[in-house]
């Protein structure tokens, strides 16, 4: 590990939403549990490992999940709770590691390069997360984000896998190319059409042929991925640039009288969220997806940043009325962008000075 340019860990919470639910409903432990929305178009957001045995995974349509595993306990997602637990988890991580790149609610990359005992630190993170939140995670370690990510997935749940680049190449040589993030189902299909069905074959494929088939950029990228070459640094904390709420209706809605109350509710939720995080944004936008799946967006930028329900709601309603969709609406969303987070908003470069509140403050 000492000869690695970087030491990166990838922490991935195990079946995060379900685990959070089980923590408050211990009576459901050991049962197939599925967190999914309720409407006819909902999809599964997380399935417990028991439910996965029945073929129910993230993004499985909820209807299909009910058929595959009728005995599963279906729970509606409670994102506010998941966000709260996520904060608890990330707090633990940040206590141990300085450079953390959080990805979504349940994943993070940790840069352990300059730490004396990277493996011990990663173990400590894993143990402290479990002790503090009762949730398990899987951790993968490697010389790059790519190796770490694949390693964290290798022995889920509750895994701890350390791999060098060479070890990763060997271990996953027989795995399908789609195992590597960055090779999506379509690319995997195109690779399969060329007879490339494993990472080993892909790594051994002549770079010239890959370039010819996939173009110079994607071609080179694919061979690098297959060899687990990845130069990306662990990014610092990413601050939210926008906050949004959207909802897919159980049945398409038509006409402003039906749409406006739905928009109002989205604005309520969004502004509560903004109020809590202290975020204010200058751009208010709406998103309307029609029954034919065409998506329209409209936005307006204000003179000053706001999180006020009256302002956000007013602008959003104006935008909706101006748009007045004539076709039935499938999905409606509202977003506030260009956020500055108050409190943490000491301006960069031109620093906001603080009052000296003294000890005890």
């Amino acid at each position: 590990m000492s000869d690695w340019v970087r030491v990166v860990a990838h922490m991935d919470m195990d079946a995060f939403y379900v685990s959070v639910e089980l923590a408050r409903r211990p009576d459901l432990r050991g049962l197939p549990v599925v967190v999914a929305g309720t409407g006819p178009r909902a999809v599964v957001t997380t399935a417990s490992y028991e439910a996965r045995r029945f073929g129910v995974f993230s993004a499985t349509p909820a209807e299909r999940a009910r058929r595959l595993c009728p005995q599963a306990v279906f729970l509606a997602p409670d994102f506010d709770l998941y966000r709260e637990r996520s904060r608890d988890v990330m707090d633990v991580v940040r206590e141990q590691v300085e450079r953390v790149e959080q990805v979504g609610l349940d994943e993070a990359y940790l840069d352990l390069t300059d730490l004396g005992w990277p493996r011990a630190t990663a173990r400590t993170v894993k143990a402290t997360v479990a002790a503090r939140t009762g949730l398990t995670c899987s951790i993968g370690m490697g010389p790059s984000k790519l190796v770490a990510k694949v390693a964290s997935d290798a022995e889920k749940p509750d895994g701890f896998v350390v791999l060098s680049r060479e070890e990763a190449r060997k271990r996953f040589a027989a795995s399908p190319p789609g195992l590597v993030p960055g090779i999506g189902p379509r690319t995997a299909e195109r690779l399969a059409a060329r007879g490339i069905v494993t990472l080993g074959v892909l790594a051994a494929a002549p770079p010239d042929s890959l370039r010819e088939w996939f173009g110079p950029r994607l071609g080179a990228h694919l061979s690098a991925l297959a060899r687990f070459e990845d130069e990306r640094a662990v990014g610092g904390p990413r601050t939210a640039k926008s906050e949004s709420r959207e909802t897919t209706f159980p049945h398409d809605l038509s006409g402003l009288p039906a749409l406006e109350p739905a928009l109002e509710r989205l604005c309520d939720d969004l502004c509560v969220r903004l109020e809590r995080s202290g975020g204010r944004g200058r751009t208010v936008g709406i998103k309307v997806r029609l029954s034919d799946f065409s998506t329209l967006t409209r936005a307006r930028t204000l003179s000053t940043a706001t999180s006020e329900r009256g302002v956000v709601g007013g602008v959003a309603l104006d935008l909706l009325r101006e748009l007045s969709p004539t076709a039935p609406v499938r999905l409606l969303g509202v977003r506030v962008a260009g956020l500055d987070i108050e409190g943490s908003s000491a301006p960069l470069g031109e620093p906001q000075l603080s009052l000296e509140l003294g000890a005890g403050a």
Binding site: A23, T304, G343, E350, L355
Partner: protein, 369 residues
């Protein structure tokens, strides 16, 4: 529990109560509204463990009892009901409440009521009676300065002190400090000293705006405070940690003291602030007899405007967060305000010109000249 009530009345009261409910708790009952029907009518309660709201409303109660229902859902259901006559009945066997209005019939599953916490009772403690108008007005002057940063909980409160005929509120987020002293028309019956979450006070102001009550009864307990406003009772935990010793933050003396016309300055600041985006500061350059307000945002543009001011001495330029500076100007009352400055890296002070008891201390932004 079985009762009937008017949709309009119930909706208005429920709307107040629901604001106390949690939107992100692990305890389901905290997202609910507790309905308790007794011989006197109906009481609604909601709490997120920090803030609790209790509201009484008229209802003709046929059968007493209590039940917890999901707050937001109940609000949406009641709001959408077709007729003004509304009846609610708890059906214990089905674990739900039947809500009927005209031809509509809803069955809402109840939440586990044993998880619903008891809200603090003021007990026998003698309340301090406060004029609602003055109290709410004072909240409006300072609450904006409280921090919304949950990682600095001790700054999320407003220090409320009242004794004799004086009411004082103080808030700071460490970038600015607001102090408002209000002289009351009558002597208070007792004293209050409490660090109350700004959110609680803002909620109280909202309730007061929709209420005819002229008095607020305040009881401060060990770590709770209870406000009673007409038939609404708001209880709240107090902010933990000592409120900063703010008096030592106020400089003893200033280099410059300018009396300015509030509206004129505010309008200039509002206009020019439009071009202080992306954390760009608002720049105030004082020269003999003149103040130039300017702002510049890279790739967006710039704005400047001068106005005559009675400034004397060596030119100085100081930068402020436009929002913080504007908040200060907007919170003064009267035609004139007093702006006091020391130097570009020391705090500025804004006061109402007519000794309205309002003081706003704001830290500058360091300018890269």
């Amino acid at each position: 529990m079985k009762l009937s009530t008017s949709r309009e009345t119930f909706l208005a009261r429920l709307g107040i109560a629901v604001r106390g409910a949690s939107t992100r708790s692990a305890i389901q009952a905290l997202s609910g509204v507790l309905m308790r029907a007794d011989a006197d009518g109906l009481e609604l309660q909601a709490t997120d463990m920090e803030l609790g709201i209790r509201v009484r409303t008229e209802a003709s109660v046929e059968r007493e009892g209590s039940v917890v229902l999901p707050g937001r859902l109940l609000l949406d259901v009641v709001r959408s009901m077709p007729e003004d006559q509304l009846s609610l009945e708890h059906r214990a066997a089905e674990q739900d409440v039947e809500v009927v209005s005209g031809p509509s019939r809803f069955h809402l599953r109840t939440l586990p009521s044993e998880d619903f916490p008891r809200l603090p009772e003021p007990g026998d403690a003698e309340p301090v009676r406060m004029p609602a108008g003055a109290f709410v007005e004072t909240i409006g002057r300072v609450a904006r300065s409280a921090s919304r940063d949950e990682t600095r909980p001790h700054l999320t409160g407003v220090l409320v002190s009242a004794s004799g005929s004086r009411l004082r509120m103080v808030a700071t987020d460490s970038y600015r400090l607001s102090v408002k002293e209000t002289t009351l028309a009558e002597e208070l019956s007792g004293e209050v000293e409490a660090n109350v979450p700004a959110r609680t006070l803002q909620e109280l102001a909202r309730v007061a705006a929709a209420s005819a009550a002229e008095q607020i009864d305040i009881v401060a307990l060990a770590n709770q405070v209870v406000f009673r406003l007409g038939d609404v009772v708001l209880s709240s935990r107090l902010v933990e940690g000592r409120f900063p010793n703010y008096e030592q933050l106020l400089p003893d003396s200033f280099e410059h003291e300018l009396r300015l016309r509030s509206n004129e300055l505010l309008e200039v600041v509002r206009r020019v602030s439009l071009l202080a985006q992306k954390n760009a500061p608002l720049r105030l350059r004082f020269a003999e007899g003149e103040l130039e307000v300017s702002a510049q945002t890279p790739d967006i543009g710039e704005a400047r405007e001068s106005l005559p001011v009675p400034f004397q001495g060596e030119e100085i330029e100081i930068g402020f967060n436009p929002e913080f500076f504007r908040d200060g100007l907007e919170s003064t009352e009267g035609d004139e305000l007093i702006l006091k400055l020391i130097s570009p890296l020391r705090p500025g002070l804004i006061q109402s010109g007519d000794d309205g008891g309002f003081t706003y201390l704001v830290m500058p932004i360091r300018l890269n000249v």
